[in-house]
Symmetry: C2
Subunit: 406 residues, 2 copies
């Protein structure tokens, strides 16, 4: 564990008990931004997307209040409610499911997002009186060439991202939030991830994805506060309809199944040409070390970094400087009918505006990126991530606040 935080520092940093192990790492739940975005990427993920099954605005707000309370508690290593797993009446169901009883916070963060369907459902209905506050950028993502989306892995009215260094802690958090939501929301899809594929802090070493390559070398880092203001956080003037989203962000997920058996049959040379980096060091094919800038002119007419190499196709130089904060995880979900492993990358990215920060990059990737021959995207979703929660507030309160309701 390279990146234990210190007491009282910024949101991206956590606290831990000096005499304990990494399990005691705790991140504050309240702050200007939600935790789990610039927080140094934890090792494990449990992500869930919900359909809202009620038409009652009051029920939806009540759920957000209960979720806020439970998330604030669980991120500090506590049970989901004060009565918890053992403190209530023995004649009633326990208020917490109990599987994390002896476990510490383990760096748990819980991050909430709102999908387009919260503002206007598939039939166009404005169930919760929120339609005129729908951010202009919060629309279902366009079709990208090659996408083979499964409806049961795509979309959602609400989402929760739970990240922790102990998977049982992340699963416990999602399970108890799902339970709290029963009758108001239903799970649409969920995804576990076991190996982070990106670094969100310069204090972390770069992990590898299931193609065997270092991933996230050029990722937006928590320490780049000016770049984060420019590329990550929604500004106060960004969208007059959605002033409530200032200090928030947009969350994109893409479930990228990897055709790993085919990938594994490519030569090392071809793999490196496809990615644009050396497999061992992570250095760009234009030379240098892992963190050396890419030189797309190196090699001249036969560029050292091919024009269809992944790192070139998605590079900010070709997208008006667009950068995103990636926070993806590897997954293996059993096996396929063909006797292969059902494995891949659950891509997560946070951007200030998906229309400039994500969609053009994804379009270029879908059309021109040599790597996409080895990837099948079968899930996809976009959520608006409200800003952090102030004391006494519930998550997303500025969207619902009666004082400035429509």
């Amino acid at each position: 564990m390279a990146a234990l935080g210190v007491v009282g520092a910024a949101t991206a940093l956590g606290t831990h008990d000096a005499e304990d192990g990494v399990g005691s790492l705790r991140y504050p739940f309240q702050g200007a931004h939600q935790a789990g975005i610039v927080t140094p990427a934890q090792d494990r993920l449990h992500f869930v997307a919900f359909d809202v099954t009620t038409d009652s605005r009051d029920d939806l707000i009540a759920l957000l209040m209960r979720w806020t309370s439970a998330a604030a508690r669980m991120t500090q290593g506590k049970d989901a409610t004060p009565a918890g797993a053992l403190g209530g009446s023995p004649m009633l169901p326990p208020e917490d499911t109990g599987e994390a009883l002896e476990l510490e916070a383990s760096g748990l963060t819980i991050t909430f997002g709102f999908g387009p369907g919260l503002f206007r459902d598939a039939e166009g209905r404005d169930r919760f009186g929120l339609a005129d506050r729908q951010p202009a950028a919060l629309q279902p993502l366009p079709h990208f060439s090659g996408d083979m989306l499964k409806p049961e892995l795509t979309g959602g009215d609400l989402c929760i991202q739970a990240c922790a260094n102990d998977p049982q802690v992340a699963v416990h958090a999602i399970r108890n939030l799902v339970r709290i939501g029963m009758g108001t929301v239903a799970v649409r899809w969920s995804q576990l991830g076991f190996g982070r594929t990106s670094t969100t802090s310069t204090a972390q070493s770069t992990p590898r994805n299931l193609f065997g390559f270092k991933d996230g070398t050029a990722n937006l880092k928590a320490e780049e506060t000016a770049a984060a203001e420019q590329h990550l956080w929604v500004g106060t003037g960004d969208d007059p309809r959605a002033a409530w989203l200032a200090g928030g962000s947009y969350l994109v997920t893409r479930r990228m199944s990897m055709v790993i058996e085919t990938w594994d049959r490519q030569s090392l040379y071809d793999q490196e040409q496809i990615i644009g980096r050396a497999k061992g060091s992570g250095a760009p094919l234009s030379g240098g070390e892992e963190f050396t800038d890419l030189d797309f002119r190196a090699g001249g007419a036969t560029p050292a970094i091919p024009v269809d190499a992944h790192v070139r196709v998605v590079h900010p130089d070709f997208h008006d400087g667009a950068r995103m904060l990636r926070r993806g995880y590897n997954f293996v979900d059993g096996s396929t009918d063909l006797g292969h492993l059902n494995a891949g990358l659950f891509f997560i990215a946070y951007v200030r505006d998906p229309r400039t920060g994500f969609i053009p990059v994804q379009q270029a990737m879908s059309r021109n990126d040599a790597m996409m021959e080895y990837v099948k995207v079968n899930g996809s979703a976009l959520f608006a991530v409200p800003p952090g929660v102030a004391p006494g507030e519930y998550v997303g309160q500025p969207l619902f606040a009666p004082g400035d309701s429509p």
Copy 2:
């Protein structure tokens, strides 16, 4: 991590570099017994079952040789082959997939098992000339009442259990073994687990399953060497047809989906009556602390531990003293069509003879155990686990050794 081993000790103990973290924990691959059985249960699991797709005995033996070599290397933190991820010709596919390049052994163990189909396939054919060496106890498990088995999650000709404290290490091991087997075997099913549910060493604290209860309190422990000889390891005289299995064991898997939404609606009192232990401490309802012996007479006509409580139904006192070494893991595999989490316990147990050590216990559990109302078993398999590998041998060599071939 409570249980780091010391240099040069027994198979159950590992070695690690004192100056490094827990990642450097290494267990020897060779020994009297395979590692991964009495080894202190690691935190993560990737289990895979294969169908053998060849009829060639030579190809099967060649695969076992390659698997042995790769497993011996990977458990010591090395690439799957000497050329590995980066050392071969760049014009050839890398021999290792590379996603574990900077990762250490992380306590990895790799354990191989042979299913009934290796000796006689579904059509009764003796594909590999092994039928007269089939252990009498190695037959497909009988139907247990309530079982709802899915063929795609059940059975298999071969299995590999990979356990490690880093899931990417376990996944890398299985992926590379699957890759080595291409053309000879095909994946039938695979299962990832994220939280061990049993302690196999007295040095480990008892973890919790997704019912929120401590699990594995009464498990057979590595330190009980006499009990292991009696209940775990196949003896030289156990089965005249299967002398090759002496020093081995039998591995039972049961994929137990938990109906957690229904379970979560039961009162704390009812949950404890169903399990027979206090949810918080793990103490038996007959009193005492977690490790206090169960007293089934406490309470007289209204027994403190109900007659249908899980701990009573499976207790050795009611099964001629039968004990097993359990090594299960929690799992969450996405969500169901009903908007619930697809969660449960991937039960793994090792026994000397499933006919006495497992089947009667499972029959009692299926019929009488109150807990089974909250469990749906949809996968099941039995494998014979050959003894440990000596230097220069391949795994299972005594079964195939030309000197005493049929």
